[in-house]
């Protein structure tokens, strides 16, 4: 999934954002990347989506060798991952449905598949009935769910969430995290960048702490939530298998 070996990133102004980072994240893992501001978290994410190129080392993400990847192959790398942004990044002139469908249309998906798949992910994130709403007519939590649905709609191997709870209230944060855990339980790798340690402690998982561009801690912590509080899986639906089969065909 993600293999980094001795990766360093030095920006043109001389800032060494990542120093000799080595790590492996395997398929199906649930990983938190934590660290203070300026620790190197954003650079780490930028390297993953090839927004930036590492100065030294080796990086392989979802089968793509990012040190050798050609420019025209970058979109195909990005199609293997879904990104959830802290500020949601929704297009105001589009309603919920079109915001989600936009991610599929942007990669040339046939309209028939768009209709089926968007309907499915809207149900997954619990926004059924709100398809026609504009982003400004939704709460912060709902907007983040739209953003999550957009990240999910292309059925990525990996979800990268950059501070997904940063702009929403605690109750909604909990709900968004539950969705991410559910998505992970269905086999999708989830990488969450956050500085909210309460969230990390509540849900548990692998926690990688970055400080000063270096990995200073990499451990698995148990969730502090009781089994009753553990999220339930909402992803499987009668349509799910059918969707996956048809996508494979196409």
């Amino acid at each position: 999934m993600i293999h980094m070996k001795n990766v360093s990133k030095v920006y043109s102004n001389g800032t060494e954002a990542l120093k000799n980072v080595t790590l492996n994240i395997e398929r199906g893992e649930f990983v938190f990347i934590v660290g203070s501001s300026g620790a190197g978290k954003s650079t780490f994410l930028k390297l993953l989506i090839h927004e930036e190129t590492a100065t030294f080392g080796k990086i392989k993400v979802n089968g793509f060798d990012l040190m050798k990847i050609k420019k025209h192959k970058v979109p195909y790398l990005r199609r293997t991952m879904g990104i959830v942004f802290q500020d949601f990044r929704l297009i105001e002139k589009m309603n919920v449905y079109d915001n989600i469908a936009f991610a599929m249309r942007a990669i040339g998906a046939p309209e028939k598949l768009v209709r089926r798949r968007v309907k499915y992910v809207i149900a997954v994130v619990g926004l059924k009935g709100k398809e026609k709403r504009r982003p400004s007519e939704l709460s912060g939590g709902e907007q983040q769910r739209v953003s999550l649905a957009r990240a999910l709609v292309n059925n990525p191997e990996m979800i990268i969430a950059d501070e997904p709870t940063g702009n929403i209230d605690p109750k909604m944060s909990f709900e968004i995290m539950q969705r991410l855990v559910d998505i992970n339980k269905n086999g999708t790798t989830v990488i969450i960048v956050t500085h909210e340690l309460d969230i990390v402690r509540s849900f548990g998982g692998r926690v990688i702490r970055i400080d000063g561009g270096e990995i200073v801690e990499d451990k698995i912590i148990q969730p502090s939530l009781s089994p009753d509080e553990q999220p339930t899986t909402v992803l499987p639906s009668p349509d799910d298998d059918e969707n996956k089969k048809e996508e494979t065909k196409e």
Partner: protein
């Protein structure tokens, strides 16, 4: 997820939608483009018509020798033989006054009759073609000396002036077309740049979900091509509507223009095809240049990351 590329309809729709969404900018671009295309088209049409005028006058080495009005037919034939003897004369064709008056009547129509009545004021003439234009003056002098020659209508000067004028119009036309072409390209690419700027957020999201540069580019190119096509259609309509009135007005001032000007029926298809084609081509090029430049620079990044 591997997606089948089946989105041409979506891309075209997006391109057309952009025109409406950015309608004020599109309208401004169309107005400026139409102006540029009209000026360019006018320069081309003037050049083409001057060429036609020159062709109607002849190659410049042809003169008309009018005979005395009273000269008998036999004397006229003798005079023709005399003209043929002049060294620099290549060809000498008899041009009877009936033919001459018919030509005038055809050109002037009712106007001629109202001025002249039924009387033919012309004499018989010869149309003489010269071998060498450098001996033009000497040859004219020699023919003038032949008894029975009344006057010589010499349109060579006009032809030479028009040839110079045409060369001038061609050079000016070339630069006008070139400069306005560049201006048009600049306008259309600027218009697309504005559209891109207003949609940079969407482009950024498209990049983050894995849209290829081509996929991002196509709607903008379609938008630019459509603006070019609309501008070309409007400009050609304006020129077609204005052509005949301008031709008629110019024809009233200079009779020759009314007979030599290219009729609209012969060129309207070319005008439409040329203008729409040029509009689409400039649009495609302008759109491609600006979106490619944008995607290679700031548009290549995901905003805010």
């Amino acid at each position: 997820m591997k997606m089948k590329f089946n989105s041409s309809g979506y891309l075209v729709k997006e391109g057309l939608k952009n025109i409406w969404i950015n309608r004020m900018m599109s309208l401004a671009s169309i107005i400026v483009l139409v102006s540029c295309l009209i000026i360019t088209g006018a320069a081309i049409l003037i050049s083409v018509n001057v060429n036609s005028l020159i062709a109607s006058i002849g190659e410049g080495n042809q003169i008309k020798v009018f005979l005395d009005y009273e000269l008998s037919d036999i004397d006229s034939i003798k005079l023709g033989a005399e003209i043929k003897k002049v060294e620099n004369v290549q060809e000498c064709r008899y041009y009877p006054k009936e033919e001459g008056i018919k030509e005038y009547k055809d050109r002037l129509g009712n106007l001629y009759e109202s001025l002249q009545g039924e009387k033919n004021p012309l004499g018989n003439a010869y149309i003489v073609k010269l071998k060498d234009l450098s001996d033009y003056k000497d040859t004219i002098d020699q023919i003038n000396k032949i008894k029975g020659v009344s006057s010589i209508s010499d349109r060579g000067d006009i032809a030479r002036t028009l040839t110079k004028l045409n060369a001038f119009v061609s050079v000016v036309g070339f630069w006008v077309v070139l400069i306005l072409g560049v201006v048009t390209l600049f306008i259309i690419s600027n218009s697309i740049k504005m559209t891109m700027y207003s949609r940079r957020f969407e482009i950024s999201i498209m990049k983050s979900v894995g849209a290829t540069n081509n996929f991002i580019r196509i709607p903008f190119i379609i938008e630019a091509m459509t603006i070019g096509l609309i501008s070309g259609a409007i400009a050609s309509a304006v020129l077609i509507l204005a052509y005949n009135p301008i031709k008629n007005t110019a024809g009233q001032m200079i009779t020759l223009i009314s007979t030599s000007a290219i009729p609209l029926s012969a060129i309207w298809v070319n005008i439409i095809a040329g203008f729409c084609g040029a509009g689409v081509l400039i649009g495609a090029l302008g759109g491609y240049i600006s979106i490619t430049k944008y995607l290679h620079k700031e548009g290549g990044d995901i905003i805010g990351w």
